[in-house]
Protein backbone atom coordinates (compact mmCIF):
# COMPACT_ATOMS: atom_id res chain seq x y z
CA UNK A 1 0.00 0.00 0.00
CA UNK A 2 1.42 3.32 -1.04
CA UNK A 3 1.38 5.47 2.02
CA UNK A 4 3.14 8.78 2.14
CA UNK A 5 4.38 9.95 5.47
CA UNK A 6 4.77 13.62 6.08
CA UNK A 7 5.08 15.43 9.39
CA UNK A 8 1.66 16.35 10.69
CA UNK A 9 -0.11 13.95 8.43
CA UNK A 10 -2.14 12.34 11.14
CA UNK A 11 -4.79 13.68 13.38
CA UNK A 12 -7.03 11.66 15.65
CA UNK A 13 -6.44 7.90 15.64
CA UNK A 14 -4.83 7.00 12.34
CA UNK A 15 -6.21 4.53 9.83
CA UNK A 16 -4.66 1.12 10.35
CA UNK A 17 -3.54 1.77 13.92
CA UNK A 18 -6.43 0.01 15.63
CA UNK A 19 -7.09 -3.70 15.14
CA UNK A 20 -10.45 -4.44 13.49
CA UNK A 21 -11.95 -5.80 16.71
CA UNK A 22 -11.48 -2.46 18.46
CA UNK A 23 -12.66 -0.54 15.39
CA UNK A 24 -15.85 -2.57 15.54
CA UNK A 25 -16.33 -2.02 19.28
CA UNK A 26 -15.92 1.76 18.99
CA UNK A 27 -18.29 1.86 16.02
CA UNK A 28 -20.84 -0.09 18.05
CA UNK A 29 -20.49 2.42 20.90
CA UNK A 30 -20.76 5.40 18.53
CA UNK A 31 -23.71 4.33 16.37
CA UNK A 32 -26.52 4.30 18.97
CA UNK A 33 -25.35 7.71 20.21
CA UNK A 34 -25.45 9.06 16.66
CA UNK A 35 -28.89 7.67 15.99
CA UNK A 36 -30.17 9.21 19.21
CA UNK A 37 -28.39 12.46 18.27
CA UNK A 38 -30.14 12.64 14.88
CA UNK A 39 -33.49 11.97 16.58
CA UNK A 40 -32.84 14.73 19.15
CA UNK A 41 -31.67 17.12 16.44
CA UNK A 42 -34.93 16.66 14.53
CA UNK A 43 -36.92 17.22 17.70
CA UNK A 44 -35.05 20.39 18.70
CA UNK A 45 -35.33 21.93 15.23
CA UNK A 46 -39.01 21.04 14.90
CA UNK A 47 -39.78 22.62 18.27
CA UNK A 48 -37.99 25.90 17.62
CA UNK A 49 -36.67 27.13 14.25
CA UNK A 50 -34.61 29.77 16.03
CA UNK A 51 -32.44 26.96 17.37
CA UNK A 52 -31.00 26.51 13.87
CA UNK A 53 -28.81 29.66 13.90
CA UNK A 54 -27.47 28.69 17.33
CA UNK A 55 -26.68 25.25 15.96
CA UNK A 56 -24.90 26.94 13.03
CA UNK A 57 -22.71 29.06 15.24
CA UNK A 58 -21.79 26.28 17.70
CA UNK A 59 -21.20 23.83 14.85
CA UNK A 60 -19.20 26.49 13.01
CA UNK A 61 -16.75 26.65 15.89
CA UNK A 62 -16.23 22.87 15.76
CA UNK A 63 -15.42 23.19 12.03
CA UNK A 64 -13.14 26.15 12.59
CA UNK A 65 -11.26 25.11 15.72
CA UNK A 66 -10.70 21.49 14.75
CA UNK A 67 -8.87 22.65 11.62
CA UNK A 68 -6.35 24.71 13.58
CA UNK A 69 -3.27 22.81 14.62
CA UNK A 70 -1.72 24.85 17.39
CA UNK A 71 1.75 24.60 18.91
CA UNK A 72 2.12 23.65 22.58
CA UNK A 73 4.96 24.31 25.03
CA UNK A 74 6.63 20.91 24.54
CA UNK A 75 7.22 21.56 20.85
CA UNK A 76 4.48 19.53 19.23
CA UNK A 77 1.17 20.43 17.61
CA UNK A 78 -2.42 19.42 18.14
CA UNK A 79 -5.81 20.96 17.57
CA UNK A 80 -8.54 22.25 19.87
CA UNK A 81 -11.92 20.53 19.52
CA UNK A 82 -14.41 23.37 19.84
CA UNK A 83 -17.11 20.99 21.03
CA UNK A 84 -17.86 22.70 24.35
CA UNK A 85 -20.27 25.37 23.07
CA UNK A 86 -22.40 22.84 21.27
CA UNK A 87 -22.35 20.55 24.33
CA UNK A 88 -23.71 23.40 26.47
CA UNK A 89 -26.41 24.43 24.02
CA UNK A 90 -27.49 21.05 22.62
CA UNK A 91 -25.97 18.32 24.76
CA UNK A 92 -23.46 15.64 23.79
CA UNK A 93 -25.62 13.61 21.36
CA UNK A 94 -26.30 16.39 18.86
CA UNK A 95 -22.67 17.45 19.22
CA UNK A 96 -21.68 13.91 18.22
CA UNK A 97 -23.62 14.30 14.96
CA UNK A 98 -21.82 17.56 14.07
CA UNK A 99 -18.44 16.06 14.98
CA UNK A 100 -19.16 13.09 12.74
CA UNK A 101 -19.55 15.42 9.76
CA UNK A 102 -16.20 17.07 10.52
CA UNK A 103 -14.42 13.77 11.19
CA UNK A 104 -15.87 12.21 8.04
CA UNK A 105 -14.62 15.14 5.96
CA UNK A 106 -11.17 14.83 7.53
CA UNK A 107 -10.92 11.10 6.99
CA UNK A 108 -12.20 11.18 3.39
CA UNK A 109 -10.48 14.32 2.12
CA UNK A 110 -7.47 14.76 4.35
CA UNK A 111 -6.56 11.23 5.46
CA UNK A 112 -6.61 12.48 9.05
CA UNK A 113 -8.09 9.55 10.88
CA UNK A 114 -9.56 6.75 8.78
CA UNK A 115 -12.93 5.19 8.16
CA UNK A 116 -12.17 2.14 10.30
CA UNK A 117 -11.00 4.30 13.20
CA UNK A 118 -13.79 6.86 12.67
CA UNK A 119 -15.93 5.13 15.30
CA UNK A 120 -13.16 5.51 17.89
CA UNK A 121 -12.63 9.15 16.92
CA UNK A 122 -16.36 9.90 17.16
CA UNK A 123 -16.35 8.38 20.65
CA UNK A 124 -13.44 10.55 21.83
CA UNK A 125 -14.11 13.89 20.14
CA UNK A 126 -17.85 13.66 19.59
CA UNK A 127 -19.20 11.74 22.55
CA UNK A 128 -17.01 11.46 25.65
CA UNK A 129 -15.41 14.93 25.40
CA UNK A 130 -18.75 16.74 25.00
CA UNK A 131 -20.31 14.45 27.60
CA UNK A 132 -17.70 15.42 30.20
CA UNK A 133 -18.29 19.07 29.28
CA UNK A 134 -22.04 18.59 29.52
CA UNK A 135 -21.72 17.05 33.00
CA UNK A 136 -19.65 20.04 34.15
CA UNK A 137 -22.29 22.36 32.66
CA UNK A 138 -25.15 20.54 34.44
CA UNK A 139 -23.24 20.73 37.69
CA UNK A 140 -22.58 24.47 37.42
CA UNK A 141 -25.72 25.57 35.56
CA UNK A 142 -27.76 26.48 38.64
CA UNK A 143 -24.86 27.25 40.95
CA UNK A 144 -23.65 30.73 41.80
CA UNK A 145 -20.65 30.38 39.49
CA UNK A 146 -21.00 32.89 36.66
CA UNK A 147 -21.71 31.90 33.07
CA UNK A 148 -18.30 32.79 31.67
CA UNK A 149 -16.41 30.66 34.16
CA UNK A 150 -18.85 27.82 33.45
CA UNK A 151 -18.29 28.12 29.69
CA UNK A 152 -14.53 28.26 30.23
CA UNK A 153 -14.50 25.10 32.36
CA UNK A 154 -16.85 23.22 30.04
CA UNK A 155 -14.98 24.01 26.82
CA UNK A 156 -11.51 23.47 28.31
CA UNK A 157 -12.48 20.16 29.91
CA UNK A 158 -14.33 18.91 26.81
CA UNK A 159 -11.13 19.57 24.86
CA UNK A 160 -8.79 17.98 27.39
CA UNK A 161 -10.91 14.90 28.07
CA UNK A 162 -11.04 14.17 24.33
CA UNK A 163 -7.29 13.69 24.39
CA UNK A 164 -7.42 11.66 27.62
CA UNK A 165 -9.93 9.32 25.99
CA UNK A 166 -7.83 9.01 22.85
CA UNK A 167 -4.90 7.97 25.05
CA UNK A 168 -7.15 5.49 26.81
CA UNK A 169 -8.41 4.04 23.52
CA UNK A 170 -4.88 3.55 22.22
CA UNK A 171 -3.74 2.02 25.51
CA UNK A 172 -6.69 -0.41 25.48
CA UNK A 173 -5.86 -1.75 22.08
CA UNK A 174 -3.71 -0.50 19.26
CA UNK A 175 -2.12 -2.72 16.62
CA UNK A 176 0.93 -3.05 18.80
CA UNK A 177 1.29 -2.20 22.51
CA UNK A 178 3.89 0.46 23.23
CA UNK A 179 4.48 -0.94 26.67
CA UNK A 180 4.15 -4.22 28.56
CA UNK A 181 1.11 -3.24 30.55
CA UNK A 182 -1.87 -1.06 29.78
CA UNK A 183 -1.34 1.34 32.68
CA UNK A 184 2.09 2.46 31.60
CA UNK A 185 1.00 2.61 27.95
CA UNK A 186 -1.83 4.92 29.06
CA UNK A 187 0.69 7.14 30.85
CA UNK A 188 2.95 7.25 27.78
CA UNK A 189 0.02 8.32 25.59
CA UNK A 190 -1.18 10.84 28.18
CA UNK A 191 2.27 12.39 28.16
CA UNK A 192 2.15 12.82 24.39
CA UNK A 193 -1.52 13.73 23.91
CA UNK A 194 -3.06 15.12 27.08
CA UNK A 195 -0.38 17.00 29.05
CA UNK A 196 0.69 19.28 26.15
CA UNK A 197 -2.99 19.84 25.37
CA UNK A 198 -3.53 21.74 28.64
CA UNK A 199 -2.29 25.06 27.25
CA UNK A 200 -4.44 24.69 24.12
CA UNK A 201 -7.47 23.79 26.26
CA UNK A 202 -7.02 26.94 28.36
CA UNK A 203 -6.76 29.09 25.23
CA UNK A 204 -9.83 27.46 23.73
CA UNK A 205 -11.78 27.92 26.97
CA UNK A 206 -11.06 31.64 27.19
CA UNK A 207 -11.76 32.35 23.53
CA UNK A 208 -15.04 30.41 23.59
CA UNK A 209 -16.26 32.13 26.76
CA UNK A 210 -15.66 35.42 24.93
CA UNK A 211 -17.73 34.05 22.04
CA UNK A 212 -20.44 33.13 24.50
CA UNK A 213 -20.50 36.73 25.69
CA UNK A 214 -21.46 37.84 22.17
CA UNK A 215 -24.21 35.23 22.02
CA UNK A 216 -25.55 36.62 25.31
CA UNK A 217 -25.36 40.19 24.03
CA UNK A 218 -26.98 39.48 20.66
CA UNK A 219 -29.47 36.71 21.32
CA UNK A 220 -30.16 36.21 25.04
CA UNK A 221 -33.77 35.09 24.29
CA UNK A 222 -32.66 31.86 22.66
CA UNK A 223 -30.54 30.86 25.67
CA UNK A 224 -33.49 31.44 27.96
CA UNK A 225 -36.05 29.81 25.65
CA UNK A 226 -34.01 26.64 25.17
CA UNK A 227 -33.47 26.69 28.93
CA UNK A 228 -29.70 26.70 28.54
CA UNK A 229 -29.22 29.20 31.35
CA UNK A 230 -31.82 30.79 33.63
CA UNK A 231 -33.15 34.23 32.72
CA UNK A 232 -31.80 35.68 35.93
CA UNK A 233 -28.31 34.37 35.23
CA UNK A 234 -28.30 35.56 31.62
CA UNK A 235 -29.39 39.05 32.71
CA UNK A 236 -26.71 39.38 35.38
CA UNK A 237 -24.03 38.23 32.93
CA UNK A 238 -25.25 40.75 30.39
CA UNK A 239 -25.06 43.57 32.90
CA UNK A 240 -21.71 42.45 34.18
CA UNK A 241 -19.85 42.86 30.93
Amino acid sequence: MDRKTRPGEYMHIMEGFLPWQWCLIWWLVALPCLIYGVYQLKKVLAADREALPLLGVTGGFIFLLSSLKLPNPVGTCSHPTGTGLSAICFGPWITAVICTIVLLFQSLMLAHGGLSTLGANIVSMGIVGPFVGYMVYRLLKDSTINIYLTVFLVTALADLSTYVITSFQLALGSIHPVSGDMGSAFIIYLGIFAIPQISIAILEGIVLSLVFKYIIVLKPEILIRLNIFSEEKVCTSRDET
Binding site: C23, V57, F63, P71, C77, S116, I206
Partner: protein, 101 residues
Protein backbone atom coordinates in the same frame (compact mmCIF):
# COMPACT_ATOMS: atom_id res chain seq x y z
CA UNK B 1 -20.77 51.12 35.11
CA UNK B 2 -18.10 48.47 35.36
CA UNK B 3 -15.41 48.22 32.71
CA UNK B 4 -17.03 46.42 29.78
CA UNK B 5 -14.18 44.72 28.02
CA UNK B 6 -12.70 42.51 30.75
CA UNK B 7 -13.18 39.31 28.76
CA UNK B 8 -11.77 40.81 25.57
CA UNK B 9 -8.65 41.94 27.41
CA UNK B 10 -8.29 38.54 29.08
CA UNK B 11 -8.62 36.75 25.73
CA UNK B 12 -6.10 39.09 24.11
CA UNK B 13 -3.60 38.61 26.95
CA UNK B 14 -4.00 34.82 26.72
CA UNK B 15 -3.45 34.81 22.97
CA UNK B 16 -0.36 37.01 23.31
CA UNK B 17 0.99 34.77 26.12
CA UNK B 18 0.33 31.74 23.93
CA UNK B 19 2.33 33.31 21.09
CA UNK B 20 5.19 34.28 23.40
CA UNK B 21 5.37 30.71 24.71
CA UNK B 22 5.45 29.47 21.13
CA UNK B 23 8.26 31.81 20.06
CA UNK B 24 10.18 30.99 23.21
CA UNK B 25 9.87 27.21 22.70
CA UNK B 26 10.67 27.58 19.03
CA UNK B 27 13.87 29.51 19.63
CA UNK B 28 15.23 27.74 22.71
CA UNK B 29 14.17 24.12 22.51
CA UNK B 30 16.34 21.93 20.37
CA UNK B 31 14.46 19.31 18.44
CA UNK B 32 11.12 21.03 18.82
CA UNK B 33 9.82 20.54 15.31
CA UNK B 34 6.12 20.99 16.08
CA UNK B 35 4.96 17.79 14.45
CA UNK B 36 1.47 16.56 15.25
CA UNK B 37 1.13 14.68 18.53
CA UNK B 38 -0.52 11.84 16.63
CA UNK B 39 2.47 11.60 14.27
CA UNK B 40 4.61 11.02 17.34
CA UNK B 41 2.21 8.36 18.60
CA UNK B 42 2.15 6.72 15.17
CA UNK B 43 5.94 6.62 15.15
CA UNK B 44 5.99 5.20 18.68
CA UNK B 45 3.56 2.42 17.85
CA UNK B 46 5.39 1.44 14.66
CA UNK B 47 8.70 1.60 16.50
CA UNK B 48 7.47 -0.78 19.20
CA UNK B 49 6.08 -3.04 16.50
CA UNK B 50 9.56 -3.03 15.00
CA UNK B 51 8.53 -1.80 11.58
CA UNK B 52 8.28 1.44 9.71
CA UNK B 53 5.08 3.44 9.48
CA UNK B 54 4.92 2.73 5.78
CA UNK B 55 4.41 -0.94 6.52
CA UNK B 56 1.29 -0.30 8.53
CA UNK B 57 -1.42 -0.85 6.02
CA UNK B 58 -4.82 0.76 6.38
CA UNK B 59 -7.78 -1.52 7.10
CA UNK B 60 -9.88 0.48 4.69
CA UNK B 61 -8.04 1.98 1.69
CA UNK B 62 -7.76 5.70 2.01
CA UNK B 63 -7.28 8.61 -0.31
CA UNK B 64 -4.30 10.70 0.79
CA UNK B 65 -3.91 14.29 -0.44
CA UNK B 66 -1.04 14.13 -2.94
CA UNK B 67 0.80 17.11 -1.45
CA UNK B 68 0.94 19.41 1.55
CA UNK B 69 -0.50 22.18 -0.64
CA UNK B 70 -3.63 20.21 -1.48
CA UNK B 71 -3.96 19.28 2.16
CA UNK B 72 -3.71 22.86 3.37
CA UNK B 73 -6.31 23.93 0.78
CA UNK B 74 -8.75 21.38 2.15
CA UNK B 75 -8.01 22.45 5.70
CA UNK B 76 -8.56 26.08 4.79
CA UNK B 77 -11.85 25.02 3.21
CA UNK B 78 -12.95 23.42 6.47
CA UNK B 79 -12.03 26.53 8.46
CA UNK B 80 -13.76 28.73 5.89
CA UNK B 81 -16.96 26.68 6.19
CA UNK B 82 -16.84 27.20 9.96
CA UNK B 83 -16.12 30.91 9.63
CA UNK B 84 -18.94 31.28 7.10
CA UNK B 85 -21.46 29.68 9.45
CA UNK B 86 -20.35 31.81 12.39
CA UNK B 87 -20.41 35.02 10.37
CA UNK B 88 -23.79 34.43 8.81
CA UNK B 89 -25.43 33.67 12.17
CA UNK B 90 -23.94 36.63 14.02
CA UNK B 91 -24.96 38.84 11.10
CA UNK B 92 -28.49 37.45 11.21
CA UNK B 93 -28.69 38.08 14.96
CA UNK B 94 -27.37 41.64 14.64
CA UNK B 95 -30.03 42.28 11.99
CA UNK B 96 -32.77 40.85 14.18
CA UNK B 97 -31.63 42.91 17.13
CA UNK B 98 -31.65 46.11 15.08
CA UNK B 99 -35.13 45.41 13.77
CA UNK B 100 -36.48 44.76 17.24
CA UNK B 101 -35.13 47.88 18.83
Amino acid sequence: MAFRYKLEILALVTIIAFCIIFFYTNSTMNGADFTGTDTIVAAKISESAGSSERNISPLIPQWVPPSGEIESTLFALQAAAGGFLIGIVFGYWIGQKKQNS
